[in-house]
Point group: C2
Chain length 458, copies 2
């Protein structure tokens, strides 16, 4: 009996495990170790669960442990991988309920340990009521805290998780403050667009404190948070949500001597094989990947990449174990992201200005305002599109959109164009969908591309 | 004084003229002959004007004759070009009010005569109340007819104009029948998707008669339409709108000996220069262009192409007259189209199955149902995506979408991928926007691409 061992039961791990179980003969065991009790869940859906828009947590689970087991995956929940022995090709696994430790041998190992929310080492950080939102259990803890009717929530950080959580609290009618170190929220977009997000947040009654670093937390006698210290002053808070981003949970791999990179993620090749070792793969939020334009490492913990990488892993494990040709590789990303704050859609793809400069491009940045449909149509909404192009090659490097209805998904065409290495001149001549309810004769990304052409030719 | 003469004052002609006026020195006259009284208007907006959603007709006009004149364009409305003398390099122009004819010499000629609605040569076709919807005047005639409170409108043809007009009448609460020769409406999409459009039409109370050829029209004693003869039987109608498509208005060019092609449009090169003659350009609905995948001629009368071609013409006229380098070419189209019927969005790009077969591809067609957002989100809508791939090269050849909110514009990414020659495998690995309100972890076009991969590998 040969064994494929998967560490981690969320998107990357379970998509790999499910695919492996389908494709490998019975003679191969597919064993998955998962610390928690949930599998294949959508962490991205947690804010909508907390907002009360989604029935949770079951609705967030694409496939339950029972379903995976029924499909023949030997899924061990409540089991944590505590170390990897590369020599012996074994993983030490701890049953979290009993404390028992078992060594499990593997023929192939898939590491999919995910990411964990950043918890800065600040005074009071371990107080009650200071929560992250990475797992279903995290989400449940926030919902439990809401049972106690918090008067004042503080969201620390204004990345997309921070933003989505702030919306969730606003939807629930809870007084919400967002504290952000940078001068504008949502650093995944350029500051000029971030200002529009700031406006929308304030418009919905959120107190937005930018340029404000959190120095610590005040706790009451029961050890529960009662304040967030910002600029030497405590602002009241009876619930704090940390939206400071995440880091790759790569310690287990690193402790075993596996390579991690500058972004803190496990380093793999395009088949998701861990660099320098035999028959060990890694996928999902615990790895770093490459930007397709710059070929530089990036860490982008998103379910969409995790699913794709899990699929690539499964394909290459099968190729390796069964000695059949590999068919799939993960080509990297173009850093596409989308979110919304209430009615405002926000998206980006490719490089921002600084990223472009850092990658030795000579960026030209243009920003245009346009309508989401023909200007004469009723209810037409404004959108702002920012485009980054390279002066020398005229390539479109990045595109960012902030606007209402029909705005966000415009980045998909831009992501495709950037992947194909198109110039802004190419983009101007793309045959994009036109009809009055959907666009003016020039699609918003083409309005931006024309502005870029003009700037490049000036 | 050198003169650039433009025939036609809508999208292609006026975008060329406006750009030429900006870029050519004062020593060049830019003269435009326009038969009607309107310039630079959105024919595509006419159905929304008739529906009462858009204030018309002024709102449909991007730039008025006065504005063009103020910018220095010598715009002659009410003036029809009746012949082109290639030898003398003159155009014979008739003042429609006075009947006077003048010969106007040109150094450069731009033909932008547009398209005209097909009016089949059927008994009664010239009756009152049988209208096309190509020009603002056409639109006004339909609105005038609505003043007489028609009891029964018949729309002949169910292309997107027919569909949009049917919606306009339904919105106005008028009993509407759509007659279509084919077995399903909207031939720009595959019949399997057309069925969904048929359902939606019937759901909104439209009587849809498919497989029904119109044989003629019954007129009352005043010569006004009172019935449409279909399959030997007259159905009552006091207003008939023809949505049978358009043909390139290329007679003027053809009569002068200029080349027209298999699709009936004027034939040009990628700079929009009319093949085989010096310093004559053509652009917009009167030309045929090329499909970028097949390199075969197509006639796609859309404002978006007209605007781009007008821009290309202006660039090349300037390059030619001022002896500067040409910068722009029109690379052809991928046959992208989008429309909606009430809440149903409908779009396509690339080749349909038959087009693919005709172009010697070996098409594999897959159809999937998916959600427009993560399945657990509230109000998530269904969409159907049909994908055409080539068996040999695995290239994505075409994509069609029918669905609610957030469905239609998905084709933009597919249009870009088709332009770049991507395979379905490439599409699966694209970094498209993912967040629960916008897509599941696989974007709808990737769900379709994965189904295509599966079909190709089967």
């Amino acid at each position: 009996m040969a064994r494929v061992l998967v560490i981690g039961g969320d998107a990357a791990g379970m998509s790999a495990a499910a695919s492996l179980r389908r494709r490998l003969p019975e003679a191969y065991e597919v064993v998955v170790l998962e610390r928690g009790e949930w599998t294949s869940y959508s962490a991205c859906g947690i804010p909508y669960w907390i907002a009360g828009e989604v029935e949770g947590p079951d609705d967030l689970v694409a496939r339950t442990p029972e379903e995976h087991r029924k499909n023949g995956v030997d899924l061990r929940t409540g089991t944590e991988a505590v170390s990897i022995d590369l020599e012996a090709r074994e993983v030490e696994a701890k049953d979290l309920a009993s404390g028992e430790v078992e060594r499990i041998a593997f023929d192939a190992l898939v590491i999919a340990t995910g990411a964990e929310p950043l918890r800065p080492d600040l005074p009071g950080i371990d107080g009650e009521g200071i929560l992250g939102v990475q797992s279903i259990d995290d989400g449940q803890r926030v919902l439990d805290a809401l049972e106690h009717d918090p008067q004042q929530v503080v969201v620390v950080g204004s990345g997309y998780v921070g933003l989505e959580m702030a919306e969730a609290f606003v939807v629930r009618g809870i007084s919400t403050t967002v504290v952000e170190k940078a001068p504008v929220p949502l650093s995944i977009i350029e500051p000029s667009l971030g200002e529009k997000v700031a406006e929308a947040m304030r418009g919905r009654g959120i107190e937005l404190r930018t340029g404000a670093g959190v120095e610590g937390f005040e706790l009451d006698d029961d050890g529960h948070v009662r304040g967030v210290v910002v600029d030497g002053e405590a602002m009241p808070a009876d619930l704090v949500v940390l939206g400071l981003g995440v880091r790759a949970r790569s310690d287990l791999a690193a402790d075993a001597g596996l390579p991690t990179g500058v972004k803190g993620g496990i380093v793999t090749d395009a088949r998701q094989r861990v660099a320098g070792v035999d028959r060990i793969w890694a996928a999902g939020d615990c790895v770093e990947t490459r930007d397709r334009t710059t070929d530089l490492p990036v860490h982008l913990p998103l379910g969409t990449h995790a699913n794709k990488q899990g699929m690539v892993v499964a394909d290459d494990v099968v190729a390796t174990l069964l000695e059949v040709p590999n068919r799939l590789t993960f080509p990297g990303v173009v850093q596409t992201a989308i979110t919304k704050f209430c009615a405002l859609e926000i998206s980006r793809t490719g490089l921002g200005e600084k990223q472009a400069t850092d990658a030795a491009f000579d960026p030209v940045v243009v920003t245009i305002q346009t309508s989401d449909r023909a200007g004469y149509m009723p209810e037409s909404g404004e959108m702002t599109v920012l485009l980054v192009a390279d002066r020398g090659s005229r390539r479109m490097l990045g595109l960012q959109v902030v606007g209402t209805e029909n705005a966000g998904l415009r980045v998909d065409a831009a992501a495709t164009a950037i992947t194909a290495g198109m110039t802004v001149d190419d983009v101007v001549m793309l045959d994009l969908a036109y009809a009055p309810p959907f666009a003016s004769v020039w699609s918003p990304i083409q309005v931006a591309a024309r502005a870029a052409v003009k700037a490049l030719d000036a």
